[in-house]
Amino acid sequence: MGLLAPWFLAGLVALALPVWLHLLRRRHAPPRRFPSLMLFEPHRESSVRRRRLRYLLLLALRCLVLAALALAFARPWRNTAAAAPGADRLVVFALDDSFSMRHGNRMARARSAALGELGRLRVGERVQVLAFSSSVRALTQASREHEAARAAIASLEAGDGHNSYAELARALRLIAEAERGPVVAHVFTDLQRSAMPASFRDLALPASVRLQLHGVAEGRIANWAVEAVDVPSAVYGARKLRVRATAASFSGETARKRVQIVLDGRPIESREVELPGGGRTTVEFLLPEPSYGVHRGEVRLDPPDDFGADDRRLFAFERRDPKPALFVHEARDRRSWLYFSTALEASGLGAFRLEQSTPEQAPAEKLAQYAFIVLSDVASLPQGLARALADYVESGGGVLVALGAATAARGEAPWPAATVVANGETHAAGFTVAEIDRAHPCLREQGLWEGVRFYRVVKVEPGTSRVLVRLADGVPLLWERPAGAGRLLVFASAFDNLTNDLPLHAVFVPFIERTAAYLGGLDETPGSLTVGATLPVTSPASRGIAAEVIGPDGERLLSLDEAAAVGSVVLRRAGYYEIRRPAGRALLVAANPDPRESDLRPAPDDLIALWRGETPMPERGQGQGGEGTRRELWRLFVALALAAAAAESLLAGKYMTRSGEAA
């Protein structure tokens, strides 16, 4: 027992108040002359005593209300487990199945040790089996059936996840909260240093949990691993593939290793590198033009070490042809085409092949073949082209409309229908950009728009559109209009370097690149992810349409219902994941173990000892005086105060009803 805020006990002084009031009431009993007390026998005063007794009961209730409130504010606590040493305990077997447990026979030792501990338990003792890595999974429920626990332990294999002792501690805390009795947690793990949380408080366990760590690591191990591979997820056109691989050493010695690229099962190129002890080396390969289609590649480290599972790292990419994009401009406006096409080419995106056309020559019937369309300050559109643009956007196409001098002269945008509010006055100094919506994909990870000056901006009321860029005078510069399944951006200026100087600034190229990628629907999913990452399965536009996810073993990860309802899938194992989307579009993603799992160094002994409880932990050092779960009792005292207040109210009301006395 103890108090967290004992200074609130000073509130017990308030107990004097009801006592004083009751004394006052007794003193104020009105004296009254009576002819004779001859007929009031002294022993008959018992009725008066009874009344005093009831008064004392009222006084006691009032004192109880105040005392309970003072105690509630003092926040008393009680060690419940310590009070029940013989309570039914729960034995938890937590086995580490993270990627590092693939090293040697760690997993086998963990299983063996766990089965040994399980065999030493008394028959009928409650057990539960957990497996933990980046998350904790309950393999069995708390049960007295040891056979089920034994089967779960025996069948457990190491996975590809990253270990997290903080997650394990959190799970044990939840179990302790649910359990009334003590919990004994047998943890079988390699005690990896990289699995320790940044804050030791995340490892804190309730006093009712007795932690028994069973280390299964073999001691100091020299390990080398491919830590990262940087590969684009798509290669467009006849370009070489640039692969950047990083090899890391988790050993104190310098080692010579061969880094090899394997593409679709065939070694392509290798390079000898020297890995300094505890250091990293980055190797860049420029692979010859790959064939069209999806490719599976990996970076290997030779010769393999004792922990061969992390000596390779997978990646995937697709060779595609650039998609055509259409740039529609007036015949006299050559400047916009020049700046826009140059910026797109300079971006290195390579995903689009930009074509130019005048409004009259635009192939209205073939718009669907274009990845995106740009209407650059077009004064008017043929009726058929406007209708085709509307259908194109409605069906999922992307259009960028730039409004320049031609639009301003006409008084309204040719498409989409929008009335020009005012043809912005020409300002010699120009307006600067004041607000940028950095959350939009077109403007994400871009440089500042400082210094860009807009001399003439067409003012169009954006309505319910999402304004992405706004000038200093509040005029919208770039906004996105909702348009069916497609994407429609409106730029209230032109790309001609006359109405603004945007094409002369560095931000112009990434802006055009991002905008083109956004309008063209380029998939931003990287070709290589880490196990535990979430992979988006469906795009917002295709939500509700089932996508198929094929796992590393060729099995379908989602049922049809899940595929239609779930927007993403968690990559739990290393390997290749294939996402088959509607309309025959497929995506290949490689999942690799977390590189931190390659660091097999164990956690420091003092940290382990602290976690075992061999040295006082902060949670246990607060004067609890023994093992047990600290349960705060303030709710109990608040309830007691409420009950006493209700009883006091009833009793006082009864007195008032009987005698009209205000208790």
């Binding site: 009993a29 009105p30 009254r32 002819p35 007390l37 007929l39 009031f40 026998e41 009874r50």
Partner: protein
């Protein structure tokens, strides 16, 4: 000042009663009932042979002249009786829960009795007492006696404790002839002791009437809250709950009244409980009606 004792309504109520036919031998209204004693009167009753020692003034000399025998001539005399009121003015009599306290009510009652006696030309006297005899007006039927009595009543003030022994010893010393002795008190004493103290008066041949004057608050106390009761005479205090006053006390006061009435009747006394909330004429009418029934 004297008029307030003689409320016209009270007198009108009493005059309406047919007291003549219904009063006992020594009634209130003199001249309308026959005295049990022979005395000096004009109405002949009988002759009795002379015996030595008889007063020669009562010898009928005409009979002696005719028969030479001495006979005493006796008449049925119209004699007045003496009314003596013993008024308790102890501190308890000063209690009242309404406009008229017990002592004032007792004054009204005594004054009414004195007025009646005066109308009947009966001798009337007064003894005012608490623990001592505070005032005495000897019984008399002389002119001006009523004024003296009423003045004595007016002087009577609330005293201290009650002691029935002293006034009755005083009464016994001065009681020359048989009459009616009326005791007006709240009788806060043991009924046995009260009756034992007053019984000698009855043995002297006098009629003894007890008027037990109680306030309604004494008969039916109703407290809203526990009160600290202070004895008017002893100053003793006691906290009393409303429940006790409503239940236990009422039982006890009723038992006290019943015991006093029973013992008084057993001793040949008349006992009347008078609630000061009741009209005075109604109380007197009840008393006179009872006496009528005893004729």
């Amino acid at each position: 000042m004297l008029v307030r004792f003689l409320e016209p309504a009270i007198l009108a109520g009493l005059s309406g009663l047919d007291l003549v036919a219904k009063t006992v031998v020594e009634g209130f209204i003199a001249g309308l009932h026959r005295s049990p004693d022979f005395g000096f009167s004009q109405e002949f009753a009988e002759y009795r042979a002379y015996t030595p020692g008889d007063d020669l003034r009562y010898v009928d000399w005409n009979v002696f002249a005719r028969t030479e025998r001495c006979y005493l001539k006796r008449y049925r005399g119209e004699t007045n009786t003496a009314l003596t009121v013993l008024l308790d003015v102890s501190a308890s009599m000063g209690f009242g829960s309404h406009r008229v306290n017990k002592l004032e009510y007792a004054r009204f009652l005594a004054a009414s009795l004195f007025y009646l006696a005066n109308r009947q030309r009966d001798a009337a006297g007064l003894i005012v007492f608490d623990e001592e005899v505070r005032d005495v007006v000897a019984p008399s039927s002389r002119h001006g006696q009523l004024s003296r009595l009423l003045h004595a009543l007016e002087r009577a003030a609330v005293g201290r404790q009650t002691d029935y022994v002293r006034p009755f010893l005083h009464l016994m010393d001065h009681l020359r002839r048989r009459g009616i002795v009326v005791v007006i008190s709240d009788f806060y004493a043991s009924p046995a002791e009260i009756v034992r103290t007053m019984a000698p008066v009855r043995f002297r041949g006098s009629e003894l009437v007890l008027f037990h004057v109680l306030d309604p608050e004494e008969l039916r106390p109703a407290f809203d809250q526990p009160v600290l009761l202070i004895d008017a005479e002893t100053r003793r205090s006691m906290e009393v709950s409303p429940e006790y006053a409503r239940r236990e006390y009422r039982t006890r006061i009723q038992a006290h009244v019943a015991e006093l009435g029973e013992r008084a009747r057993q001793a040949g006394m008349d006992y009347f409980l008078i609630d000061t909330a009741r009209p005075l004429d109604a109380a007197l009418r009840e008393y006179l009606s009872v006496r009528e029934g005893r004729l």
